[in-house]
Structure formats: structure tokens, C-alpha cells
């Protein structure tokens, strides 16, 4: 460095001799130990390569002698979290739904687990917030096709509705139109009657003609007053909740084509612990009975 003894005449400081387009670099020397720290960190990095996963190879990578792996750490963390939950989970396994509900802390755990399981398994049809859509029931409201008690919800979850399961509950709305059990005119009349008992806009004269048709064909399941029956899964036709829509066209279509949606049976697919959590979660949404 002795050759570059030029002194910058503004600052009075030596330059390093480096020059870019006339701009010269002043020499503010770094401490030597700083340089040594740099060398030490290079040496340190070699130790690091030996100890930890470092270099990509043609297939795979150098694993390092410590056997460290982020994946294994995550796996371990998950297992630790599971172990931490085991106390709650075994309490859920051993308690009845009502017992769980009476213990706020346990209920909170169950509902949180149910919410997660709902997102994974149920949200595809029922929606992320269980708000449902046409043909898929809203689970937040107080209208239940097959009952909204803890046991009823639990049963529906276990065996499904019209599902491929021996214990499943089945009720089929007949295909009054397709199977020519009623004429188009009769269907229109009975639909008008349904509008009338639901308190919606209707033609009273036409509805009057539909009343007899209703009593003969529909009342057996939906009840004489049209309030449905949760044992049979027949919907209440007098309330404000309509799975397939409340306009006349939608009602006519239902009468003509019949049938119903399928709720899968979860008994073989989810374990009892998860199904219990789901039951409590759905019950907690606000409509539970």
C-alpha cells in the first residue's frame, strides 16, 4: 500500500489508489480482526457443511453428520402437539356428547377440532361456514330434516342419508310427475297449496283445489298440516327454509322429479373422536336442539 500515498486534499485522508471515473476511494482501514472474523466464518462454513445438510447432489443432497432435517423436526413437533392433546382426546373418547357439552374447556377443544374437520370433510358441500346452498342444507339454522339434537346429528354423521350404509336413513320424495302419479295440472294445484300453507303469495282458488291432492298424496309423510316429520326426513313445508327454493317453479320441479340429496356415511371414514367433535361443532353453530 505504500505506493498509494496520495492524500485527498479535501479530507486529508489517504486514498486506496482505486479510482472510478475520477472518483477515488478514501482509505478507512478495517480492523485486522474484522478480516480474521471473515476468514473464521469461511472455516466455520466448512464445518457447517459437514454437520448439516448443505450441498445438492445429482440425486438428493449431502445429509450432514448431525442428521438434522426440518421435515423430521416438523414431524416431531406434530407428535408433541398430538401428545399434548391426548388428555383432551381421551376425555372426548370416554365421555358422552352431553358430558362434553357440560364441560366448557373440553367443549371448546371439541368445537375447535370439529371446525377443522368440517373444513376438511364437509365444507365441499355445506360450505366453509356451513351455510349450505341449493340442495345442501344450511347447518346454522334451526330447521332440521332429520333432527337437530346431539344424537340426531351424530346419527346423521355416522350413517349418512340415502348413503351406502346399512344403518343409513332413507326417505324418497316420490317422482309424482315422471312416474305419472299426478298430472301437470294437479302438480300445479298442489304446489299452489304448498305456497298457501307456507304463507307465501298464492292463488287461493287454485290452492283450495290442491288441498285434497295434498291430503291424499303428501300428508302421509309431510303431515296433514305440512309441518313434516324429522323421523321420516320429510321437510316442514310451512316454514321459511327451502332447500330447493320457494318459488312455484322450484316446488313444481321437486314434486315432478322427487328424490333427495345424499349425505355420505362417515362411520368408516372418520374415527369416532372426529365424528363426536363434528357433532358438537355443528350443534354449536346456533341451531342445535
Amino acid at each position: 500500500m505504500a505506493a498509494n500515498n496520495e492524500i485527498d486534499n479535501v479530507s486529508g485522508i489517504e486514498t486506496t489508489g482505486h479510482e472510478w471515473d475520477g472518483i477515488k476511494e478514501l482509505n478507512h482501514p478495517l480492523p485486522k480482526w474484522w478480516l480474521y472474523v471473515f476468514y473464521i466464518s469461511i472455516i466455520w462454513s466448512i464445518g457447517y457443511w459437514v454437520a448439516y445438510p448443505a450441498w445438492p447432489m445429482v440425486s438428493g443432497y449431502t445429509k450432514g453428520v448431525l442428521g438434522y432435517s426440518q421435515r423430521a423436526t416438523v414431524q416431531q413437533n406434530i407428535e408433541e402437539a398430538r401428545a399434548a392433546q391426548s388428555e383432551f382426546n381421551s376425555a372426548i373418547d370416554q365421555s358422552s356428547l352431553e358430558d362434553i357439552q357440560s364441560k366448557p374447556e373440553l367443549l371448546q377443544f371439541a368445537v375447535a377440532g370439529g371446525r377443522a374437520a368440517f373444513g376438511d370433510n364437509c365444507a365441499a358441500c355445506h360450505g366453509r361456514g356451513a351455510q349450505g346452498s341449493k340442495g345442501f342444507p344450511n347447518l346454522n339454522d334451526d330447521d332440521w330434516l332429520w333432527g337437530g339434537s346431539l344424537d340426531a346429528i351424530h346419527q346423521t354423521l355416522l350413517y349418512g342419508i340415502r348413503a351406502n350404509n346399512d344403518e343409513t336413513r332413507i326417505s324418497d320424495m316420490p317422482r309424482f310427475g315422471i312416474d305419472q302419479m299426478l298430472t301437470d295440472e294437479q302438480i300445479s294445484e298442489v304446489a299452489e297449496y304448498v305456497l298457501s300453507i307456507a304463507g307465501l303469495d298464492h292463488d287461493a282458488a287454485v290452492a283450495g283445489r290442491g288441498q285434497t291432492i295434498f291430503a291424499e298424496n303428501c300428508a302421509v309423510c309431510h303431515g296433514e298440516d305440512g309441518k313434516g316429520n324429522t323421523d321420516l326426513g320429510s321437510p316442514d313445508l310451512t316454514d321459511a327454509i327451502w332447500l330447493y327454493g320457494s318459488d312455484k317453479e322450484a316446488i313444481v320441479t321437486r314434486i315432478k322429479t322427487g328424490g333427495g340429496g345424499v349425505m355420505p356415511a362417515w362411520s368408516g371414514r372418520l374415527n369416532e373422536n372426529i365424528i363426536k367433535k363434528l357433532t358438537l361443532y355443528i350443534h354449536s353453530l346456533g341451531g342445535g336442539q
Binding site: 482509505n27 478495517l30 321459511a240
Partner: protein
């Protein structure tokens, strides 16, 4: 000849034996001077001579005060009642609390700490604008601990000359025990520093007993070790290098002071041309600086203040003391090195004077900003409540239609009881007279009592239902109302605004 040229010429003169009759010229070199540098330079050891005078006294007092606060504060007790720590200043990580005398800050109130940092930063700016690096020179922990370490070194090894002699001499018993005693003392100071640090995070007397019985948690020993090491290395060994190479503040401070800031400066107009003063030599036609190098000898940063403002200078004022002592001895007026402004220096070199301007736009701005933040902080602190209520309207779905056509909304209500006793609250709604209100898992009724355990958060799911006719009257599908949480013990009410949503028809 300009002052700069005089300085450059004076620097090249060989050190003489005497600067003035009876005053030897120190052979001290400004080791961090700006010429003759390598790209990477080994550290030149600095052996600061002890200064005596007004500023040295101030620095001793500041040292005693700041270190006293640091080491003793964790031992100060403050009664907060049962079940609460009685340590005046405690950072309780386990319970996410910061206790500062009568103030208790929860983790979610960390903005108070942010506010405190802003206050500190603005105060630093203000002080720097007024009088340069006062923080660096007097109160910075690095300066204080370095000063303490140098004092210890002085105690075992003597002043500058004997320390230099000791460093040069061959290893013998004297050198071994003097250096050994110095380093052991430094390590003990480091240990005390590290110990005091961990006391801020756990009950000090308890932790002290745990340390003595080797029962303290591993993390306590770890931090004790880390702070012992950093105190020893940074304060004892690295010293001025921390300020010069590690600290960002010297780089920032250039923008913080201006021509009106009081900075420690060598009054070149008075001192030059400098040179040794012979007995009976007249003072006319020459400067007051007798080039005795005492200012360099006392400098802990290894610079020569006579070279003008430098990055390395922490403005510790020890050169003022050193120079004043000499000026008194040779019968010249003191303050050849003094706090002065660039504006006054410039004026003085033309035989003029410039008044010191303390009030100027920069200082007004900093003061105003400082006052504003302090007022906001004081207001926020006084408005701190013992109850936090948070209401969140569930958005998925926004609302649910029930079988009778009524519309139901659900809300997540969180009640945080910050007191250390169980409180009972009632929760109700205000602003929706026709609405039915219920809480999941609770019997409906007027006397809705919600117990929240001490120092805890309770989450409730609340349902608000409007009958069909009322739901139809909601404008734009949106009706504002409020949740009211009432403390049944003292009747205080806290309300949170939210909205009821329904179909927009």
C-alpha cells in the same frame, strides 16, 4: 497560512523534550489519525491518561448514577398486593407482562414500549442538535463500562506511562499478577453485569439463591455467560473499536448536528501557530497551543481533537479537562478546547463573535415532536383499562334465516379481565330493541352473569335474532348496535359498536 496548514506542519515537527518550562511534551500519538493507513490495520493499543477536572468529575458522577441504577434496580421492591411480583422493574416473559413500578404493560400493549423508544430517539436527536454526542460521551453503556474498565486498569497498573511500560516489558511476576488482576476484575464486573441483566427477568432474590445453589434455569446461566463475555470483550478489550466500527450512531449523527450545535472543538484561531513555548518568550505572534499533546494522551478514542471533527470522537470532554489544566499552569486563559459552535469558530477566526442559538427550527421541531409523543403516551397510559372487550361479527355466513323467517347474526365476544380476581360481568345489547339476544351454552334471561377468572380471557358466542318484520326494516342490510359489558361489582360499562346484517332487499 491557514489553520489547517499550521496543523499539518505542526504534526510533522518532532516531539521535543519540553512544551513549556516545567511541562514535558507527551509522546502520545493520535493512533487513529487519518494518514499513513493500511487497508487492514491492527489495533494500536490506547493507554488513556487520567484527566482531572470538571468534566471528569461529571463523568464519574454519571458513571456512578447509571451503573447504580443498572445494578440495583432489580433489587428494588414495589408492593402490588398478593399473587403479584413485588419487583419494581420486572420483565415477566412467562406471563407476558412488563412491570415498571406502578405501571403494568401486557404483551398486547407493546406499543407503549414503541412509544418509549420513539421518546428516547427524539430526546437523542434533540440533545445531539443542542450539544453533539452527549449520549456517546457520557451515558452510553459502552462509554460507561469502558470508563469503568479503564478505571480498574488504572487501579491495578497505574496511569498511562506505567501501563505502557508494563505492556512493553517482558513477562515477569509483576506483569503476570497486574495483568491477571486486571482481567479477573474485568471478568467479575462482566459477571455482575450479566447477573444484573437476568435479574430483570425473574425475581431477583429468588434467582440469586438459585444461582448460589446452582439451581437456576439453564437460560439464566446462558445469558449470564453471554453478558459476562460481551461486557468483558466490548468494555475491557474492544473499547473504542465498538464506537468506531460497530455502532451506527456515529454515521447518523452527522445529520443530527449543525453549525449551531455545541461541539467539543479545538479553537484553532487561538491555538495556532502552535509550538513549544520557551521561558520568557512573548505570547504575541504565536498560538496558545504549546503542543504538549495532553489532549491526545487523555483521549480514550486515540485521536487528536486538533484535527477537527472526526467520526471517532465521542465528545467525552476529557481533552477539555486536560487542556484547561495545562492552560492554567502556563498562565493562559482556559477553554482552548471547549464546547463551541462551528458558527462561532468561523466568526472568531475573523475576530468576530456569534451568539449561541439554542432555539432554532431544528430544536423546536424535535421538542415539539417529543412533547407530542409524551402527551400521547401519558394519555394512553391514563386511559388504560382493566377490561378489554373485543367483538367480532361472524362473516361466514353473514346472517342465517331461521324457520320462522327471522334473521340471526352471530358474534364472537372476547372479554379480557386484567384484574387478579374473578370478575362477574353482564353482557347485553343496545340499539336493537326488537332483537332477541342469547349466548351459546347459557340460559337466557335478564340476570346473565358471566364469570371471567383472574387475569384471563373468556370467549363467548353470542346470537342476535331479529323477527321477520323487524329484519325487513333494516336499511341497506346493515343496522348498527352495540354490545355492552357491565362489571356487576362496580357498575362500569364498556360498549363496543358493531352491526347487524340482514338481506339487502
Amino acid at each position: 497560512m491557514t489553520v489547517q496548514a499550521h496543523i499539518a506542519k505542526a504534526d510533522k515537527t518532532t516531539p521535543g523534550q519540553e512544551a513549556a518550562p516545567g511541562i514535558p511534551r507527551s509522546a502520545a500519538e493520535p493512533v487513529n489519525a487519518s494518514t499513513g493507513r493500511q487497508l487492514y490495520a491492527g489495533r494500536e493499543p490506547i493507554y488513556p491518561k487520567r484527566a482531572h477536572g470538571k468534566f471528569r468529575l461529571i463523568k464519574w458522577l454519571v458513571l456512578a448514577g447509571t451503573l447504580g441504577i443498572y445494578y440495583l434496580l432489580p433489587w428494588l421492591r414495589w408492593d402490588r398486593g398478593p399473587n403479584l411480583p413485588d419487583q419494581a422493574f420486572l420483565l415477566d416473559f412467562a406471563h407476558q407482562r412488563l412491570y415498571m413500578f406502578g405501571i403494568e404493560i401486557w404483551a398486547q400493549e407493546l406499543y407503549f414500549i414503541t412509544g418509549l423508544l420513539i421518546v428516547s430517539a427524539l430526546a437523542l436527536f434533540l440533545v445531539t442538535a443542542l450539544a453533539g454526542r452527549v449520549w456517546c460521551g457520557y451515558t452510553c453503556p459502552q462509554t460507561v463500562w469502558t470508563d469503568l474498565m479503564i478505571a480498574v486498569e488504572h487501579f491495578w497498573q497505574g496511569d498511562r506511562n506505567s501501563r505502557m511500560r508494563l505492556a512493553k516489558q517482558h513477562w515477569n511476576f509483576e506483569k503476570i499478577w497486574k495483568l491477571g488482576a486486571t482481567h479477573i476484575s474485568w471478568l467479575l464486573i462482566g459477571l455482575a453485569t450479566g447477573g444484573a441483566f437476568v435479574f430483570y427477568f425473574r425475581d431477583a432474590p429468588t434467582l440469586m439463591m438459585e444461582f448460589i445453589n446452582f439451581e437456576a434455569p439453564f437460560i439464566a446461566y446462558l445469558f449470564l455467560g453471554i453478558f459476562t463475555a460481551t461486557t468483558y470483550v466490548l468494555g475491557g478489550i474492544a473499547r473504542e473499536q465498538v464506537c468506531t466500527y460497530m455502532c451506527p450512531w456515529p454515521r447518523i449523527q452527522g445529520a443530527m448536528f449543525d453549525a449551531d450545535s455545541l461541539l467539543i472543538t479545538y479553537r484553532g484561531y487561538r491555538g495556532e501557530p502552535r509550538g513549544p513555548h520557551k521561558k520568557n518568550e512573548p505570547w504575541e505572534g504565536r498560538g496558545d497551543c504549546i503542543d504538549c499533546n495532553q489532549c491526545v494522551a487523555v483521549c480514550p478514542m486515540g485521536i487528536d481533537i486538533r484535527h477537527g471533527p472526526q467520526l471517532e470522537c465521542i465528545q467525552c470532554a476529557l481533552c477539555i479537562d486536560a487542556c484547561d489544566e495545562i492552560m492554567t499552569k502556563i498562565g493562559r486563559p482556559p477553554k482552548l478546547i471547549a464546547y463551541d459552535t462551528f458558527r462561532n469558530l468561523d466568526a472568531a477566526s475573523h475576530g468576530d463573535r456569534a451568539r449561541i442559538q439554542i432555539i432554532r427550527p431544528r430544536t423546536i421541531l424535535y421538542s415539539a415532536a417529543l412533547a407530542l409523543v409524551v402527551i400521547i403516551m401519558a394519555f394512553a397510559l391514563s386511559a388504560k383499562s382493566v377490561l378489554d372487550v373485543n367483538v367480532q361479527a361472524d362473516r361466514n355466513p353473514l346472517f342465517v334465516k331461521l324457520s320462522d323467517g327471522s334473521i340471526r347474526n352471530s358474534y364472537t365476544v372476547r372479554i379480557l379481565n386484567k384484574l387478579y380476581e374473578t370478575r362477574t360481568y353482564s353482557l347485553s345489547i343496545e340499539g336493537l330493541p326488537q332483537a332477541k339476544f342469547s349466548i351459546l351454552g347459557m340460559e337466557n334471561g335478564a340476570a346473565l352473569e358471566i364469570d371471567v377468572s383472574p387475569d384471563n380471557l373468556r370467549t363467548l358466542k353470542a346470537f342476535v335474532t331479529l323477527p321477520p318484520e323487524a329484519a325487513k326494516t333494516i336499511e341497506d342490510g346493515h343496522a348498527p348496535f352495540a354490545f355492552v359489558v357491565r362489571d356487576l361489582a362496580d357498575g362500569t360499562q364498556t360498549s363496543r359498536e358493531t352491526a347487524f346484517r340482514g338481506p339487502d332487499e
